[in-house]
């Protein structure tokens, strides 16, 4: 098992190297540069060139990339060109908000999808199954940007019970978490349903029923436990989606997360900040996927046995 974890750690190195190169190269390829955008409107050509020099943007792409990677090896992601502060500091100021929103949305997604998926599977091909699937499809297909504005209009403007944005207090996370969670709930409902459908046909459940175990206990104590295993597996990718998909939600709800920060950095061509944020995201996601794999091995003895070989 430890060997496996060590191997996974080693695999992270080429992933981070590849991501850093691709992001750095693409950012360089993108037209426009931050100096022209940041320079005062009345700056002369010579003054703009002087700014470029002072911001460390002179030199060829390989030179700059190697300089960047050398600093990265020392744990230094550089300084944001627009904010003039260390990228790592800015990232960790904003990351808790994104993480909070991501976990909040997963919580919402689980609260919706598990009961809905179970109900759909246990009432297979009934109106309840159909309704659950239509609800899941709605959640999946509704643009989060539009749903967010709709929720703001209803709960903030019309009913006045929840704030329209910001991150002050528990109430402010409810609408963004629901908006982001709705899409994930659609996906999770479908997975829970299919996973449950597979499990409820198993022999051990028939045996449990034959032994006189109540239907409720059969479903919730025996079937659901096993059906949840695939859900743990997709936890990592769902978290990834939640982090990545949070950009639009963070904008609509003025949520101070990393998604908004990264988009702003890309738009303003703040190369160090954009690259730093994406590299940090990559590291975080790789770790999350590793943790999920380890957790999966613990809950599924077959996987654990595989690792032991």
């Amino acid at each position: 098992m430890f060997r496996y974890i060590f191997q996974r750690f080693l695999m992270m190195i080429p992933v981070i190297l590849a991501v850093s190169f691709v992001v750095y190269y693409l950012m360089d390829l993108a037209p426009g540069d931050i100096v022209s955008m940041m320079a005062p409107q009345d700056a002369t050509e010579a003054e703009i060139e002087m700014m470029r020099e002072e911001m460390g943007l002179s030199g060829t792409l390989p030179e700059r990339y190697l300089r960047y990677m050398f600093n990265l090896l020392k744990g230094d992601l550089g300084e944001s060109l627009s904010m003039k502060r260390p990228v790592i500091e800015i990232f960790f100021e904003r990351f808790p908000a994104t993480l909070k929103l991501a976990f909040g949305s997963i919580l919402v997604a689980l609260l919706i999808s598990v009961p809905l998926g179970v109900a759909a599977a246990t009432h297979h091909r009934s109106w309840l199954d159909g309704t659950s699937m239509v609800t899941a499809m709605l959640g999946l297909s509704m643009p989060s940007f539009w749903l967010g504005l709709l929720l703001i209009i209803v709960f903030s403007l019309k009913l006045g019970i929840l704030p329209s944005g910001g991150s002050s207090g528990f109430a402010s996370i409810i609408l963004p978490a629901i908006t982001l969670g709705a899409g994930q709930a659609g996906n999770l409902t479908r997975i829970t349903r299919s996973s449950m459908l597979e499990v409820i046909r198993q022999d051990y459940l028939r045996t449990a029923r034959a032994k006189g175990v109540s239907e409720k206990a059969v479903i919730y104590k025996h079937a659901l436990k096993n059906a949840l295993i695939p859900i743990i597996t997709i936890f990592g990718s769902t978290l990834g989606n939640a982090l990545g998909g949070a950009v639009a939600i963070e904008t609509v709800f003025s949520w101070p997360g990393v998604g908004r920060l990264t988009v702003t950095a890309i738009n303003t061509r703040d190369m160090t900040l954009a690259t730093g944020c994406i590299i940090m995201f990559t590291i975080f996601l790789t770790f999350t996927l590793l943790l999920v794999d380890i957790a999966y091995a613990y809950v599924d003895p077959r996987i654990k046995a595989q690792y032991s070989k």
Binding site: S36, P40, S82, G104, L107, G169, L228, L261
Partner: protein, 524 residues
């Protein structure tokens, strides 16, 4: 299965704990904006709302004035820090803010006298050493080094008087000190506290209180302010809400008291509402349709064609399309509110004359390529221009891109034919012409290289006789607007701000650094 349950339980605990921990404590929530908006502050008979919250679109990122040129930062810094000179929004003149008076001994030798007894937030009194310290610090910053490079020598006369000798003569040097990134900092603060704390110390009527990244920045009034009257409002909060519709909802909800840059679709609703007000001010930004004069392969290098285009554009129609009428049509290349603006006639809309000129040039069936950014008003300007030109049988193909990409294209792509852009000169008349229209200008995207125009710009900048100077600027305006025509000036857009009824002290600045020093609302 016990393990499954355990892991499921642990995951749930982690998620719930993350959500609740983040939301429950920490300094982010201790002073949440909006939490104290009820209640009032008594000042004699009048009661004022304790807290005014203003929603801004772009992110505030730093309180350090020397580190930024972004308006979203400068709007907040304008409340906490002061400049040596600044634009008086009532008179639109450059006046002393921290300086009492100034004198131009020679174009390259200036004398300034500071106001006496101006108190910093740390209790120290402003003196020449603070100015000297600020300038020395600014010389090492990329944002401000260009300004400081103009100065050859800084001479301290006494605690309140100083002289500046310049490398080159500049009869408008007082305007340099109106650059927001040259706000004066306290030398003593930098000696007694860490830099990140010292940069917060200014002389403005508001003191920095708290900053939560991408969420809000809050200020509290400076009770011992000597430069301005102490504000009637206790707390001023700037909330960052990027979405225009979300800002409008926050205003309608009462979560904020004012919103910057409301959506054009909400103008009418704000203006006609009993609960809200629409505050407007003509912006200094000159929006124009321009030609790349260096592209000799294109008809745009022919001044007759440019003149015909100027006659062909119905500016009123374009203003309706791009700003729903909220803009003032331009007749001159120069911006209306600037010193030395001459109210010239320019080239008016004359479709018959335009058609005749196009016919003479054989322009029917011509194809022209125009580029611009994806900002909504520019998209509409470009589309309207396309439609207007189609009436004369000219096909305009339009390409939209991000602002950063547009600037790079204008800098590097010599095959550009036409573009839609704007120019917001911050300070004096020289800035109106030098950078976008002088052959050495850093933003001369029309690639106008005219020695006569260069000489006229240089001569006007050096002229000390105001009457002669006015004449020179008038000549520049006439020649550029009606003869050379590198741009067809379209309009100066109206700046807008939505606010709850009764909120006052919200001053829109044509140069976009709006002033909220006296924002308040009487509640009785």
């Amino acid at each position: 299965m016990k393990k499954t349950r355990l892991i499921a339980l642990l995951l749930c605990i982690v998620m719930v704990a993350t959500v609740f921990t983040g939301c429950g404590g920490g300094n982010k929530e201790t002073a949440a904006p909006g939490s104290e908006s009820s209640g009032g502050q008594s000042s004699g008979e009048t009661k004022y709302k304790k807290e005014i919250i203003i929603a801004i679109a772009d992110e505030f990122t730093t309180i350090d004035p020397t580190e930024t040129t972004a308006e979203s930062n400068q709007i907040v810094q304008d409340c906490t820090h002061d400049l040596l000179t600044d634009t008086n929004l009532a008179t639109m003149q450059n006046e002393g803010e921290l300086v009492e008076s100034w004198e131009m001994i020679a174009p390259d030798h200036w004398k300034f006298k500071l106001k006496e007894g101006v108190k910093f937030h740390d209790g120290t009194i402003l003196n020449v050493d603070d100015v000297d310290f600020t300038f020395k610090r600014a010389a090492g910053k990329s944002t401000t080094s260009a300004y400081m490079a103009k100065i050859k020598e800084f001479i301290k006369i006494d605690d309140l008087n100083f002289e500046v000798k310049l490398k080159n003569g500049d009869v408008d040097f007082n305007y340099v000190f109106a650059a927001n990134c040259l706000a004066i900092l306290s030398k003593e603060a930098f000696e007694s506290m860490p830099e990140e704390e010292a940069v917060k110390i200014g002389t403005g009527p508001w003191k920095f209180e708290e900053f939560v990244q991408a969420d809000y920045v809050s200020l509290v009034r400076f009770e011992e302010c000597t430069l301005y009257d102490v504000p009637n409002t206790e707390r001023l909060v700037f909330r960052m809400i990027p979405e225009a519709s979300a800002r409008m909802i926050a205003l309608e909800n009462g979560e904020v008291d004012a919103i910057l840059s409301p959506s054009a679709t909400d103008y009418k609703r704000l203006a006609e509402s009993d609960d809200f007000q629409l505050i407007t001010q003509t912006g200094r930004g000159q929006h124009y349709v321009a030609f790349n004069l260096s592209n000799k392969n294109s008809i745009v290098s022919n001044p007759k064609f440019r003149e015909a285009v100027a006659y062909a554009i119905n500016k009123e129609e374009m203003v309706m399309a791009a700003w729903d009428g909220y803009a003032q049509v331009s007749t001159s290349i120069m911006c209306r509110d600037m010193g030395y603006y001459a109210d010239i006639e320019g080239i008016g809309y004359d479709p018959q004359k335009a058609q005749a000129m196009f016919d003479e040039l054989g322009a029917k069936g011509l194809k022209i390529h125009l580029i611009t950014s994806d900002a909504i008003h520019r998209v509409k300007m470009a589309e309207n221009f396309q439609a207007q030109m189609a009436k004369y049988g000219i096909t305009v193909t339009v390409e939209f891109m991000q602002q950063a990409a547009l600037i790079e294209r204008l800098e590097k792509d010599k095959s550009v034919e036409m573009f839609v852009l704007s120019w917001t000169p911050g300070k004096n008349a020289d800035y109106m012409f030098r950078n976008p229209l002088h052959s050495s200008g850093g933003r001369n995207y029309a690639y106008l290289k005219d020695p006569e125009i260069d000489a006229l710009i240089d001569a006007a900048a050096a002229e000390t006789d105001t009457a002669k100077r006015a004449q020179m600027y008038e000549e520049l305006q006439i020649r550029l607007t009606t003869e050379i025509i590198p741009w067809v000036p379209i309009a100066q857009a109206t700046l807008t701000l939505g606010a709850a009824k009764g909120v006052t002290g919200l001053l829109l600045h044509p140069g976009l650094v709006h002033q909220f020093k006296t924002a308040e609302k009487i509640i009785n």
